[in-house]
């Protein structure tokens, strides 16, 4: 962690140090991150895994350039004669009066409000649990750890029944409200806040006369940024990919997220008189993962430093 080591560094260490650090022998170079040891086996394995994860993506990109007929007649991993990517994209956005755009906006709404809200709650809760003592803290810990283990899919049906009683099914709230809770995010923020915010810093802020709110916003929050981004990414991906919850909550296609909408298009092919639009399903899928890839690339550096938090004891 860069931030905590920066504050740790100037302090004189009084702890007994080992007399002599075992130095690597001269001819052999140390395995520093800059020069890792090469292993053929490891390289091959990594290559296989890379290929394994890239081939479906490659298939998706290539298939998105094909027409409906092209999909049926050509080899999956190479291009067909007609290059129809732009036509497919235009048709995806105009098919059925442009309902795809509506699904995209719905998904964005669920992600911004749901995942954003979940991140906010996780940051607030994690900070409080990490830095304040109160009765029942251990019980909260147990509940959070327990909640991490319960898959959201298993809770979907009880949630549906509850929301049905409240009259919230078939409204966007049915997707947003359950998305606001992220036990794993809370746990991550809790652990992160414990490591990332030195108690001394908070004490210093308090001695300087800062209120609790000011301490949180001006001292703690900047230090929590990498963790916040990590949690934001996790919740964004979870909400973006959410399928089962919207499936049972929503009937009105106007409120569908992309996952349900694409599924509906896919199922059209299995309907008497329905139109098979596999090319649009494929193109739509590609368009659906683009924002996620963009989010990962943009937030990557925060995310990486966030994951490593607390992994090295200083």
């Amino acid at each position: 962690m860069t931030t905590s080591s920066a504050t740790d560094a100037p302090r004189p260490t009084t702890a007994p140090r080992p007399i002599a650090r075992p130095r690597p022998r001269a001819p052999r170079r140390p395995h520093t991150p800059g020069r890792p040891r090469r292993s053929v086996l490891l390289t091959v394995l990594t290559g296989v895994v890379l290929l394994y994860s890239l081939v479906p993506l490659l298939w998706l990109v290539i298939s998105a350039t094909k027409t409906q007929q092209g999909l049926a007649r050509s080899f999956g991993l190479w291009f067909d004669g007609d290059f129809a990517l732009w036509d497919n994209i235009t048709e995806t956005f105009t098919y059925q009066d442009g309902v795809f755009g509506r699904w995209l906006l719905n998904t964005l709404l669920y992600v911004v409000v749901g995942a954003g809200g979940a991140t906010l709650l996780a940051v607030l809760g994690g900070y409080a649990l990490a830095k304040f003592d109160f009765p029942g803290k251990r019980a909260v810990f147990a509940v959070v750890i327990g909640a991490v283990a319960v898959p959201t899919t298993a809770l979907a049906v009880p949630t549906f029944l509850m929301f049905s009683k409240l009259g919230l099914t078939d409204t966007p709230w049915a997707i947003i409200v359950p998305s606001l809770i992220s036990p794993f995010g809370l746990y991550l923020m809790w652990v992160f806040a414990t490591e990332a915010i030195p108690a001394e810093l908070m004490e210093a802020a308090r001695i300087d006369g800062a209120s609790e709110l000011r301490t949180f916003f001006q001292v703690a929050l900047p230090l929590l940024a990498p963790g916040t981004v990590t949690v934001l990414l996790f919740t964004t991906v979870a909400t973006w990919n959410n399928y089962f919850l919207p499936l049972i909550m929503l009937k009105d296609p106007d409120w569908y997220p992309l996952t349900l909408g694409l599924d509906a298009w896919n199922k059209q092919a299995a309907t008497a008189g329905g139109e098979a639009v596999f090319n649009l399903v494929v193109t739509g899928s590609l368009l659906t993962i683009v924002p996620l890839i963009a989010a990962f690339l943009l937030l990557q550096k925060y995310w990486q430093s966030g994951l490593a938090a607390g992994s090295v004891k200083e």
Partner: protein
Amino acid sequence: MSKYSRRLLRGLGLVCVLALGATACGSDGDSSDQKRVDAADIRAALKEGGTVTVWAWEPTLKQVAADFEKKYPKVDIKLVNAGTNNDQYKALQNAISAKKGVPDVAQIEYYALGQYALTKSVTDLTAYGADKLAGSYSPGPWHAVRSGDGVYGLPMDSGPMALFYNKKVFDRYEIAVPTTWDEYVEAARKLHKANPKAYITSDVGDAGLTTSLLWQAGSRPYKVDGTTVGIDFTDAGAKKYAETWQKLIDEKLVSPVVGWSDDWYKGLGDGSIATLPIGAWMPANFASGVKNAAGDWRVAPLPQWTKGQSVSAENGGSSLALPALGKNKELAYAFVEYANSGAGVRTRVENGAFPATTKDLNAASFQDTAFPYFGGQKANKIFAESAKNVPADWTYLPYQVYANSIFNDTVGKAYVSDKKLADGLDAWREASAKYGSEQGFTVEK
């Protein structure tokens, strides 16, 4: 009811509408099953306007709804695709159980309608005069929407069966188009021998196809009388079916591709699936899903179990029904009648649907339609002939949706193991009977 009192009622209804607005007219929610609703009530409701929520996946309904709204500007048709067949039935059942969010109109397939009728989850439409439409539908679909004296939906489309075959493939290997199921097995052998990658059809066990073929073979496995049901797959028709289909399975003559998947569409396109015995609604799916094989396919009458006969069966097809908990019953019925019996039928036929109304089936413009996809063939003639040849006495179980859902666990085993089709059917009977008893039906042994 005498003419006089009917007129009086009509007058009263009108006064009521004028004075209070349609919804304020007391009794229309509770006991409307018994109350007669006549044309004037419906006209009044149309004038008053309102919203009708329709759960349907049938694509041609979109245009019908738009036309209807244009004709009756105060009516708003909210067309919702709540999933296809099983998905929608689940959603509908949930909504009915929760007594919340029940649509005013729901598309329900013929095989599934019985269970809604039996539980009175859908409105008996005789009160709306639907029984008078008896003569205007072909016998198969009409029989399917009736239960006892009630009419529980209006037939939307029908699926008289025909044999779709890839002429290019048949020509290349010089195979004659089969007219009987024995010839069909012969053709399957010949084709697979000539090209080991080609199969006569694809089948991994499909309850809809099996029940349709049993229907055609003269088997009547289900007997339903109120809450008493009988299940039996041992009659002569069922035997014929099981023996013939067993040959196809044993000799691996059917492709193990799952129906309606992209692989299936691919197989229909590249000739590796050479025929489809299926309902007459299939041309639209061919045109949109198998574009690259345009011109290769033709339509022939369904192969017969006995040479020289011309017996057919229905495969698929659905009705529009009014869920009992729906609102705006008059408006809902007006829409259903428009879509399935009135002007909407023409619109739907023009958009590729296959009608259930005899008038439209027999219309010259319908029968003379040349299908460019089928090389200019006037395929509707074959379909319309098939519709006439459907025996009307077929009955599904009152819980056929459940029975079909366990088809692959029972009969499906015959496709993937040494188990015989006949044993599979017996296992299906047993499981269906057990479920029936658990649900409170009297199951005859």
